[in-house]
Symmetry: C2
């Protein structure tokens, strides 16, 4: 897959060997999650808001209440930045200076447009699938009133970069002789046992989508 255009906006300046600009790598980082942080500015003041997303090619769909400030602001087509970060571990070096983290992050730039009609239905299913595959089919579909209360936006990725760090610490040569433990403490997001709604009608089994998620499938 091709690369996104590179300029000062998305160029990874610090430790350039950790930077990636190809769609394959960036899609992989985006597809490993469903929670992003959206950045936008109103009157020079930046806002960073967590929200869910769904990807389809270079399109990233977002949804929210029609009355939300973020949705109302982004609908105007102002520049936005969408960042997804996965923390994979703490990197403990012998020196404080070389401590680091293992991570995968993607920073995407673009503007959003309002999604309507058939694309809106498709987009909502794409977001739902990104969060939990199969749930869309299990749940009651949205009715007209609910669709009206929901704004869906699409951001086309104009530019993007990923930054990835893996592996053990890198210490100063002389420090390898120090009697200090060094290595990686890995971390990951783990799903627990589904907790039924206390108001759930008796006898309804746990949703297949939830079972698959917990089983890591």
């Amino acid at each position: 897959m091709s690369d996104y255009p590179i300029d000062k906006t998305n160029k990874v300046k610090r430790i350039p060997k950790r930077g990636y600009y190809d769609r394959e790598t960036i899609y992989k980082v985006l597809d490993a999650g469903f929670l992003c942080h959206i950045g936008f500015a109103i009157e020079d003041r930046p806002f960073v808001i967590p929200t869910s997303y769904g990807r389809d090619g270079d399109k990233i769909y977002l949804h929210g209440a029609s009355t939300s400030r973020m949705m109302v602001s982004l609908e105007k087509g102002i520049p936005l930045c969408l960042t997804v970060t996965h923390l994979d571990g703490l990197v403990l070096a012998r020196s404080s200076f070389h401590h680091s983290m293992n991570y995968r992050s993607a920073v995407c730039f673009g503007t959003a447009y309002l999604v309507t009609g058939e694309e809106k239905d498709t987009a909502l299913k794409i977001i739902s699938d990104q969060i939990l595959v199969g749930r869309w089919e299990e749940a009651r579909a949205p009715i007209a009133k609910e669709m009206k209360a929901t704004t869906v936006l699409c951001m086309t990725i104009d530019q993007a970069s990923a930054k990835i760090r893996t592996g053990p610490p890198g210490d100063e040569k002389a420090d390898y002789a120090l009697p200090i433990w060094a290595g990686v403490i890995p971390c990951q997001q783990v799903w627990g046992t589904p907790e039924a709604d206390p108001l759930l009608t008796e006898g309804i089994p746990v949703a297949e989508s939830a079972k698959r998620l917990v089983a890591g499938k």
Copy 2:
């Protein structure tokens, strides 16, 4: 503890009952993590960059390479937004529309100043402690060259809000009769077994700080 001033910048508009403005709640969200997303704008273009932080009262310390664009930009005192998000679970409702997430997030607004002298040493220890208590004392302390290569900034929180959702889904009255499973799939960040650096000198035991983290202490 007192509240942050509330105006349109930090007011939680959507589902106001989930909004908090008191320092106690906001500090708790900040202290439960060490990874934030920083938002700032350069020539009207927003950037959202993940980075670590350390909190001391209303001061949030950030560090990075002196050459990093983010550090160079923020050092000028431009407005910034610092957001910390913890995902606690997926909330599966009977209707697609009422699906949600359980989460704790804090959105903080302020400007940063360059930290120097003694405050710089203190700040680096605060950041290190926020990530992994006790590691600062285990590792080799920074030398002058390393201190010079590191920029430390302090953001004083001028305004902030937290948004928190907990508990089971809230469905439309009529939907409770549907034969659809509803509930919460909890999730958390879990630390794995520390992996020693392949270049570690034989016989050095795993760091106490790492052992405590993995044991959840």
